[in-house]
Symmetry: C2
Subunit: 552 residues, 2 copies
């Protein structure tokens, strides 16, 4: 008869949980030993728990099924919290296996003792359970799998005391049955059809699974037939895009811009999305970005099937046979000369290979990236769903494990890259086809904007120094090499082009450190006027509506 | 009238909280701006929150007063949890300032929204408060300071909503009065004096503040006069040691050895320490390490004054004028030839400068380090109090900020160093006099021992691969250089000697990566028999009692 850990391992792989991102300690040694009892379980070692949880997040986004993580007690879980937060906000399925002290050891309050359930509460509110016996372990695991995989998906945390793991008498559970997501009810669909017919100022706001091809196409047909505008949420979990797919305008991060995007809309129809609110509050500004004159409707909640709901709506509107507008193939030219963040995005658009996965966490460069890659070959893009930076490199690890045949490009800010730089080692160890582009502008440059936006009027030297990453400037190519990843630093567009061609034609991980000026360094005045002046010069999709308003 | 952040800043510095380890985001921008309003507040930027909290921990251990941290909402606090856990276990004072969304923004559940109080609950159980108004902010801060600084010290978490921070009408609070720690009551002292007189097999177990010179001397006088043995807890918060101070035997990490250390003791007398329990549970082994025949007494709890309590006990025992045994100066020779972990410790003992601070997180090399440095010039040693690895490099940052005139030597394992490697950048930025020695054995080698200790009998290839850090082997000298720290890799004792001489004679941070064989690679048999055979060959203080038992 298997021990607890062995039975758990079988329960996991039978339920199609076949990858475990690990950072184990003593209390997880029996789980580690049990890895060899299940050939189907792949274990991927990480050097920091935030990498494990971020990788499991990226994996599930691309594999559409959860990975497990293996974490060492409350402190290991704590180190993984930020990326678990991002997964929670993205409704990404994941199963945390958190080792704990043996049940009889807890009362001694040994060094690593902490209340693990409390640590887990925020990030997996729907399922936290400490398994109490070896016999019950696999039932608990099946419940965790059910919780994680039920629509729309969530993080489930199973706490595994060492004696429950090493105890004899484990009984594997068969895979749980998973209910299908329901379709929106007819009355809701009819009401929304009515709204769309009655107003020319309706818009869909798509989020979550609604940003995959089937929902995008259904929405684009209605857009073509009924003049409904289509927006995507600001930070998609995963969006399918590029040539041949319907182009979608993302709601801007800057509340000032998002308000302008939404200014003309009378009816905002949500599909697996929430009504836009500003990322942070700013003095004297509204947090809720939907205009007072706009009514918000929900066509499909995150628990519902967005594609089926949109299809039924299209039928009702007579849009099912409409021809959707699809993105035409186009690529920017190779950039030339001195590097800027914009030129880096241009190079990405120029070189992006077929069927790529873009992981975008290059916060201050995100605007340009969307434009430059909009007509590139079809690809997926995953973004920072929960605002907790340090997601990008781990996400890239997970995406590459989920899709070993697809090239991954991770675009990461310098500040952001440091939080979970240990991901580079796992890329090297697993020989993952990830090209990481690090924007080194030696600054938390988004904060220079934020400082102004929150109304700070005078900024002293100490405050300024909290936002710069100078003295010393980080050298990411050296960091990459120190973790076994091929790394180069480039300062001109020509060097970048060459580095990208090399990376994309040589398998395994690469890191390209692009030395760029602080992207928004020119912001000496109030941000919004500056942006309004600057944006028309940029070919941004999100400025189509803006341009009309703000063109001189 | 100051805004909330400015008034808070004044309240902090007036209460002698003069250093803030930061990793801010948008919600903390007003606090950042307020830094320039208080010349006495030093802000130290870190690139990851675990560095900020670990640095604040190291600072307080050496400064005997708390630093503040500045963290970005629940996710920032989450990233800092592991080192906050270590601080909690060490009863180290600290004041977390955790920015939060403006109070009116919370209801919108924006991306970074989470329940910060729940995240904080484990690590600062004694004080978590969300300040609700600008007017109340400084009273809340004073309460946090009181909580943090009252004996024995704790982590206090003050959650600062953005609008409370930017609001006008802040009112600084005067520094709170801090009560002195009480002395043990006379009846307890009399009873313990009786115990000591009646039994020749009594021992003190010193922890926390009892490992500073005044308590060590008082305990050593009683040891000399009354034959009481003196032990230190396994992982001291801070221990004063070296030539001229009383030498103390630390309780071993391995439960098997600790049991032997305690086997002869009939009365164990605690001073700011708890009765020893094993770090983890092991199948079929006891968690509580005090023999059944031994009675545990508490002379001074963590809330009490250990030195005053010991002095009164010494008076009662007539030991006040006794001559304590003090460590004689002695240093090992320079090591020669191929490097081993032992030779690295030997080199540290040989070269340790006057008045140094040793930060020890080189888990598998810790045994040797204690022996090799016991007769070195007087120094402090800080160790891993809570078992959550990734403490060492951040602790070194904090210790160096607290004691800029003292050289810091951090001894760190390779696995451990990766958790919070970002600390190296802060060392470079602040030009700290820290020499970090990284033991690169390309392995989580302590786990190879643990695998056996928890009773895993057959270890497959997948399990083994979870414990090795090969493919690729990390290059810490490159990592250091990438963060602006002078870094070298050495493979022979001669190279190490040279690198240490260079580092200790050139100010600013240095990293020396020592390539050593996996320390305990030879452990093919059960661990305990191996250790019992090996230990008599090593001049360990903890084996004085062992040697008698196990000498052939």
């Amino acid at each position: 008869m298997p021990n607890g850990a062995q039975a758990l391992m079988k329960t996991l792989v039978d339920a199609d949980v076949e990858v475990c991102f690990t950072n184990p300690g003593t209390s997880e040694m029996h789980f580690v030993a049990a890895l060899d009892s299940e050939p189907k379980m792949k274990a991927v070692l990480t050097l920091f728990e935030g990498v494990a949880t971020g990788a499991a997040d990226g994996y599930a986004r691309m594999a559409d099924k959860p990975a497990a993580t293996l974490l060492h007690l409350g402190c290991g879980l704590g180190n993984g919290l930020a990326n678990l937060h991002n997964a929670r906000k993205g409704k990404v399925p994941m199963i945390n296996i958190v080792g704990d002290h043996a049940t009889h050891h807890v009362k001694y309050d040994a060094q690593l003792q902490s209340d693990i359930e409390t640590v887990a509460r925020n990030v997996s509110p729907g399922f936290v359970r400490t398994s109490q016996t070896t016999e019950a372990l696999c039932t608990d695991a099946a419940d965790a799998i059910t919780a994680a995989r039920s629509f729309p998906g969530q993080v489930a945390t199973l706490i595994l005391p060492a004696d429950v793991s090493w105890g004899e008498g484990g009984e594997p559970c068969p895979p749980p049955a998973l209910p299908a997501a329901p379709v929106a009810d007819d009355a809701t669909i009819a009401k929304i059809a009515e709204v769309i017919r009655a107003s020319k100022k309706s818009a869909f706001l798509l989020g979550g699974r609604a940003l995959r091809e089937p929902s995008l196409l259904a929405a684009a047909k209605i857009a073509a037939n009924n003049g409904v505008k289509v927006f995507a949420e600001t930070f998609p979990v995963r969006i399918e895009r590029g040539a041949g797919l319907p182009p979608v305008e993302r709601i801007a991060y800057l509340a000032e811009l998002a308000s302008i995007q939404l200014a003309d809309i009378d009816n905002l129809i949500l599909l697996d999305a929430k009504a836009p609110v500003s990322f942070f509050a700013y003095p004297g500004k509204k947090s809720y970005l939907v205009p007072d004159s706009c009514t918000v409707h929900t066509l499909a909640s995150p628990e519902q099937d967005t594609t089926a709901s949109l299809s039924k709506l299209a039928d009702l509107l007579g849009a099912s046979q409409a021809t959707p507008i699809l993105q035409q193939p186009k690529r920017p030219d190779r950039p030339r000369g001195k590097l800027t963040a914009e030129k880096v995005c241009k190079a990405v658009g120029h070189f992006l290979p077929e069927d790529a996965i873009i992981v975008d966490e290059a916060i201050t460069s995100g605007l340009m990236l969307n434009v430059m890659t909009e007509g590139a070959p079809r690809h997926d893009m995953v973004t920072l769903t929960g605002g907790a930076i340090g997601q990008g490199l781990p996400n890239a690890v997970g995406a590459a494990i989920a899709c070993p045949e697809r090239p991954v490009m991770a675009l990461i800010g310098d500040g952001t890259a440091m939080y979970t730089n240990q991901a580079l080692w796992t890329m090297a160890r697993e020989a993952l086809n990830v090209t990481s582009i690090i924007f080194n502008n030696a600054s938390y440059s988004v904060l220079n904007i934020e400082l102004e936006r929150v109304g700070v009027e005078s900024v002293g030297e100490k405050a300024k120094s909290q936002l710069d990453l100078k003295g010393p400037v980080l050298n990411f190519s050296q960091l990459a090499q120190g973790m076994g990843v091929h790394g180069v630093r480039v300062s001109t567009a020509e060097e970048l082009n060459k580095a990208l061609e090399y990376a994309l034609s040589h398998s395994g991980p690469h890191l390209i450190e692009v030395m760029v000026p602080e992207s928004l360094n020119g912001v000496k005045r109030k941000v919004l006027p500056w942006l309004l002046r600057s944006l028309p010069k940029l070919p941004l999709p999100l400025t189509r509506s803006l341009k009309k308003k703000i063109a001189p």
